[in-house]
Structure formats: structure tokens, C-alpha cells
């Protein structure tokens, strides 16, 4: 018995042929492991990013490869009031929606941080707006904002607060605010759940010490909760800013940039010019003009991370 077992063991050991040895050779294994991810990202992310920047300097249209036209696309954009309106609304949309999302999200996170019954159930249903496809909830908002059959208008009229239907999306400024409202609605859960995770890492002993020192609720928030939450707040905010600034779905689904181009974000304008209008070069130029904003947001994230390491007493590497 023991002899056959030993024989089997020896044979298994000899089985390591060149392929097994190659797969166990570390440099080869590293390359093999990284290859799928790196290849996918190179072909469908890095290359298109470079191609997009190149396209921005050409007059490519759908079905015709363009020639180098230098800064012509950008010069045209500089004189285009619709582009400047999109820049203005992108910045305005991002700023107002971020303030709204983080104000309300932080409040919701603080509420959820109390001892509540059904806590995990509450957390689960609060995340619902965030996991359901944006376009589908946008369609629900489109129906809620309907000029004739808006349920919000109906409630206000029934309560006697208004005489006529509220105009949500048929004129410029109400449409802008309505879109921001929908974006805030969708963003609150993500912010609240992320910040809740941050809140739960704060040690209760800090609050006890502050209570013994006779602090007020506001002081505890201002000098304990907020500074301890700052690192995670900075990261979540960077993500939120990047994805709000480049938002496409909500605007495309609810207003398609209308009325009269007043609610175009840079992404929807790029889509309208580049894909729907066929002017790939011009669309790419509009898309590329978002990059400076994104670089700014990323740097913000980087310095927030560095600050976090410094707070934890690690070296800055």
C-alpha cells in the first residue's frame, strides 16, 4: 500500500512539464494575469481617450475620416452661445446638485446613525433609487413633471396653494431646477450610505469625552463628526462631482437638452452634435473640453487621499 502511494506521489511530481514550470515562473505569470485587464483597458479606454483628443482637432463626420483642422473646432465653440450655455449649466448643475445631495445625504446618514429598529431594512430600501436604472426613474420623473398630468401640480391645486398647473419642464429655468431635483433625488442614497459607513467608524469614546467636557450637539458635530468624516467625504464628493458633471442620462431622458437648448449639459451637447448630428470632430471637441474639469476633480481626490494618510500617521508615498 505504502509503496504504491509513494510511486503515485513521485509520478505526480515528475508531471511538472515545461508548461507548468512556465506558469509558475513569476514574470510570465504576472504578464498573463495582467494581460486581459490591461488589454481591455488599453483598447477600449486609453486608445479611445487619445483618439478622442485627436478627433477634436479634425473635421471627421460619420462615414468620412477627417483631416487635421487645428483649433478650428475649438474656435467655433468659443463663438457658440449654445456651447457656453452648456458650460454654464454643467457647472451650475454640478454645484447645486452636489450641495443638495451632500446636505440632504449627510442629514439622512446622521438620522440613520441613530439606534433604529429595522436598520438594515431601512438601509436597503433607501438605496433603491440608486440601483434602479437611471433612465427608468428619469421616465418616472418625466411623468411626474408632465405639464398636464403632474401629480405635484394636482396636490398643490387640491391643497389650494396654486390655481394652475406648475410649469416644470417647458421653460428654461424651471426645467433646469427640475432636472437638478431629479439628480439630487437619485444621488442622496449613495451619499447617505457611504457617509453612514464613515460615521460608523468614528469611535464613540470621542463623543463620550466631548460630553464630559460639556459640549453641545453642534460642537460635537463641528469638531468631531465633521473632521473625522472629511477624508471619506472628499472621496465620495470627488466621484459625485465627476459623475454629475458628465451626467447624460437624466437630461437626455427628461428634456433632451430643451427647451431651446437651455438644459444641455456638455455630454448631451456632445451627443447631439457628435452622434445624432454626425459631426464627430465637433462632438469630440465638446467632450474633450470636459477634461480640464475632471483633472481638477481628480487632483482634489489625490490630495484628499494624501491628507488622509497623513492623518493616520503613515508616510506620504
Amino acid at each position: 500500500m505504502s509503496a504504491t502511494a509513494a510511486e503515485g506521489w513521485i509520478r505526480k511530481n515528475q508531471e511538472q512539464n515545461w508548461l507548468t514550470r512556465l506558469l509558475d515562473w513569476k514574470p510570465f505569470l504576472v504578464v498573463m494575469c495582467l494581460l486581459p485587464a490591461v488589454a481591455l483597458l488599453m483598447v477600449f479606454l486609453t486608445y479611445p481617450l487619445g483618439l478622442g483628443i485627436w478627433l477634436a482637432f479634425t473635421d471627421t463626420t460619420i462615414g468620412r475620416s477627417g483631416v487635421w483642422v487645428g483649433l478650428e473646432n475649438f474656435e467655433f465653440m468659443m463663438e457658440d452661445p449654445i456651447f457656453w450655455n452648456a458650460v454654464f449649466y454643467s457647472v451650475f448643475y454640478t454645484a447645486v446638485a452636489t450641495v443638495g445631495k451632500f446636505g440632504l445625504g449627510l442629514w439622512l446618514a446622521l438620522l440613520l446613525n441613530n439606534h433604529l429598529p429595522f436598520k438594515s431594512f431601512l438601509r436597503a430600501i433607501i438605496l433603491l433609487p440608486w440601483i434602479v436604472p437611471t433612465v427608468l426613474t428619469a421616465i418616472a420623473f418625466w411623468w411626474i413633471y408632465n405639464p398636464q398630468f403632474s401629480i405635484i401640480s394636482w396636490v398643490f391645486i387640491e391643497l389650494g396653494l396654486r390655481d394652475s398647473n406648475i410649469d416644470f419642464i417647458n421653460t428654461a429655468w424651471p426645467a433646469r431646477w427640475s432636472l437638478i431635483g431629479a439628480n439630487v433625488w437619485r444621488g442622496i442614497p449613495f451619499v447617505a450610505i457611504s457617509l453612514l459607513a464613515g460615521l460608523q467608524t468614528i469611535s464613540p469614546s470621542l463623543y463620550e469625552a466631548a460630553l464630559l467636557d460639556g459640549s453641545t450637539g453642534w460642537q460635537r458635530f463641528r469638531y468631531i463628526t465633521f473632521p473625522m468624516l472629511l477624508p471619506i467625504l472628499a472621496i465620495v464628493m470627488t466621484f459625485s462631482i465627476i459623475f454629475t458633471f458628465t451626467d447624460f442620462q437624466l437630461v437626455y431622458a427628461i428634456t433632451r437638452g430643451g427647451p431651446v437648448n437651455s438644459t444641455h449639459l456638455l455630454a448631451t451637447l456632445a451627443f447631439q452634435r457628435g452622434i445624432a448630428g454626425g459631426q464627430l470632430g465637433e462632438g469630440a471637441a465638446i467632450a474633450v473640453s470636459m477634461i480640464p474639469f475632471l483633472v481638477f476633480a481628480t487632483l482634489f481626490s489625490y490630495f484628499a487621499l494624501a491628507r488622509r494618510k497623513w492623518q493616520q500617521g503613515e508616510s506620504n508615498d
Partner: protein
Amino acid sequence: MSATAEAPPAPSSAAAPPETLSWDSRSRRMVTIWVPLACFLLILLFPFYWMSITAFKPNAELYDYNTHNPFWITSPTLDHIRLLLFGTSYPRWLLTTMTVAICSTVLSLIASTLAAYAIQRLRFKGSQYVGLAIYLAYLVPPSILFIPLATVVFQLGLFDSPIALILVYPTFLVPFCTWLLIGYFKSIPFELEECALIDGATRLQILRQITLPLAVPGLISAGIFSFTLSWNEFIYALAFIQSSERKTVPVAILTELVTGDVYQWGALMAGSLLGSLPVAIFYSFFVDYYVSSLTGAVKE
């Protein structure tokens, strides 16, 4: 006897001041916690309620708020859902979306597991820079990529094909999953792998038999996150798919059901509801993984 008769009032009078105090704090708690929380829940969930109720309302009630209370249905109907399932290619769109979501999830899980293992466990020179590059890739939003990607997809001959979506979705799934799994692999003790190495296991055996089984919760989190993200994706599907029957659900509802001047609100809402259900059901099974992956990825 008298002592026992006297006994009961004494504790109640003694307990009176704390009780009023506790009542006071309870009402205070009511105002500061429960009322705002209820408002949040009402606002966050109302669009779903409105979506569902519209999907089952007959048209007569849908456009007449004066004789019917809009918050309730008097005679629910399945007409909108029937129209959706039998009058349009909705089942086809669902199938396409499901296939694209599952394939791109599997593809990106394989790619990101290998990448995360290489970065976190094989520790080669410059592995931290590769990790940083993948993190940066997550910060590149689809909105600036879709125009050049459309030309790339066209050159590859994949325009108007769901395969294009399966190949393109990993661009935002792989960075996220890799990032999540790096954090997960970090939590698995290195000693386990060292033991296996001493016992003569090859690197691939270690990955397959030790690291992966321990990382199953992380893989589930990454998987469900990828599935929901690819189910929800919109801009690539809108830009790369032209023919009606190959569209994904979010795109198809918006472009195929909204035709002409008269919107079929009942069918639109039924489509949104049915399109949200798979993700919502999927989510409800794995909600804990979902929350932990969301918060884990933020904390990492």
C-alpha cells in the same frame, strides 16, 4: 395587609419624573428623527409608487384626475403590460440586456480577479503604479469616451451588435472590480499562501484552491455590482446600437416607446417597472453584499 396595599403607589410616584422625562425625549426623538426620516422615505420611494400605480391604471383613470383620486386605482388593468409584452419586442430587449449584462460581468470578473491577484499577491516591481493606473481608469467617465469608442467599434465591425457592448462595458467594470478585489485579497492572510507554497503547490493552484474560495464574498459583491452597472448602462447602448430589436431595455423604452406626439404613459411606466424589477430582485437577494461592496470600495 396595609403594607402591601400601600406598596404599589410608591414605585409609580417614584417612577413618575423619569417617565415624563422619557416621554419628553421620546417626543423629541419623534420630531428630530422619525419625522425627517419619514419625509426622506416618502420622497425617495414616491416615484416607485407612482410608477407602479400608473402601470396598472386604465387610461380612463390615468388622464382624469377630477373623477378619480390619482393616488389610487379603482379598476386595475393589465392592458399596459399586455401591450408591452405582446405588442412590442420587450421580451427580446430583456433577453438582450440580460445576455449583455451577464457576459460583460463574467468577462470583467475574470479579468479583474487575475489583475487584482497579480497586483496584490504577486507583488512585482511597479505593481502599485499599475494599481494607481487602474484606479485612474475608473475616473474616466463614459461621456468623454463614447464618440471615439463609436469609431473604434465601427472599425472593428461591431457596430449595431451587442458584442460591442459586452466588450466595452468592462472599461468601467474592470477598474471598479479590480479595486474592490485588491481590498478583498489584502484581507486574506498571506501565511495561507506561504504554507501552500512550502507544500509544493504552484501559483495557479494557490489561486484556484486557496485564494479564490476565500475571496468568494468579494467576488459576489463585485459580480452583483457589475451586473447592476451593466444593466443600467445607457450612453454606450444608445450610441452603438441602431436596430430596434438589438436595443437594451433602458434605451429601447426611451427610443421605441416614445414615438410621435402621444406618449403611452401607461406602457412607459409598465416598461420602466418591468425593467427595474430584475435589478431590484437581484439586489434584494444580495443587499448585504451590495452595501458592503459600496462602502468597502469607498473606504478602501
